[in-house]
């Protein structure tokens, strides 16, 4: 999986057919996505509950990426508008679930006096969360293959 062209293509899939350029998406994410992800993962060591919240986020990233991929395929294959709408709704719901899970872990951190810098690094608007998720997806996928 060390193909740089493929990596760039994967990161860009969330913007397939959209106005936002890859450069704009990258600018949303000045900090390296991996650093925020690493800090987030460290929180999992705090308790079994924290560990399960981190796993929920990892699973949400995977599910979100799957819906982005499904929507990309629907666009390329020019599926019926209704089908594309359904794919887009699934993507939106997965995006919401990911944001909710990030916020749940953030609240846990606030309550327990743990690092919350990772949440600030990711950013609060939906596009920033999307860019971050696409940036760390490869890492999350590879971790599950080990």
């Amino acid at each position: 999986m060390e193909d740089p062209f493929l990596n760039d293509l994967w990161q860009d899939l969330g913007n397939y057919d959209k106005g936002e350029t890859f450069e704009e998406a990258e600018n949303h994410q000045k900090e390296t996505p991996s650093l925020a992800y690493l800090r987030l993962k460290n929180i999992g060591e705090h308790s079994p509950l924290a560990d399960s919240l981190v796993k929920d986020i990892q699973n949400s990233i995977i599910r979100y990426i799957e819906t982005i991929d499904a929507l990309t395929v629907a666009k390329i294959k020019k599926d019926e508008p209704k089908e594309r709408e359904r794919s887009d709704l699934a993507r939106r719901l997965a995006h919401n679930a990911l944001i909710s899970n990030l916020n749940i872990l953030n609240r846990y951190c606030l309550k327990n006096g743990l690092d919350t810098g990772w949440r600030i690094m990711i950013g609060s608007d939906r596009d920033q969360v999307k860019t971050w998720a696409l940036g760390v997806a490869k890492e999350v996928i590879q971790e599950r293959l080990r």
């Binding site: 999986m1 062209f5 493929l6 760039d8 293509l9 994967w10 860009d12 899939l13 913007n15 397939y16 350029t21 890859f22 450069e23 990258e26 995977i62 990426i65 799957e66 991929d69 990309t72 395929v73 390329i76 997806a137 996928i141 590879q142 599950r144 293959l145």
Partner: protein, 75 residues
């Protein structure tokens, strides 16, 4: 960035369909990697469950089955 510019250049050069095909294969590779990851995680969870139940029933679990490397059989 280069990728988006290159994509546009390809489309303008009449290579849009090939680009779309390439994208579909990029998606397919990621889908397979996710599916393999799911299978590995499920395998590990089931293995843990099996070993725990087997031990609870007093079965002797062979060392090599209890070894973490079993989880990597698929690799």
């Amino acid at each position: 960035m280069e990728l988006r510019e290159f994509k546009e250049a390809c489309e303008q050069a009449g290579l849009g369909e090939l680009w779309a095909e390439l994208t579909l294969f990029a998606v397919k590779q990621r889908q397979i990697a996710i599916e393999l990851g799911d299978a590995i995680q499920t395998f590990r969870a089931k293995r843990t469950e099996l070993l725990a139940l087997a031990r609870a029933k007093g079965l002797v679990v062979p060392d090599k089955l209890a070894n973490d490397e079993v989880a990597n059989l698929s690799a």
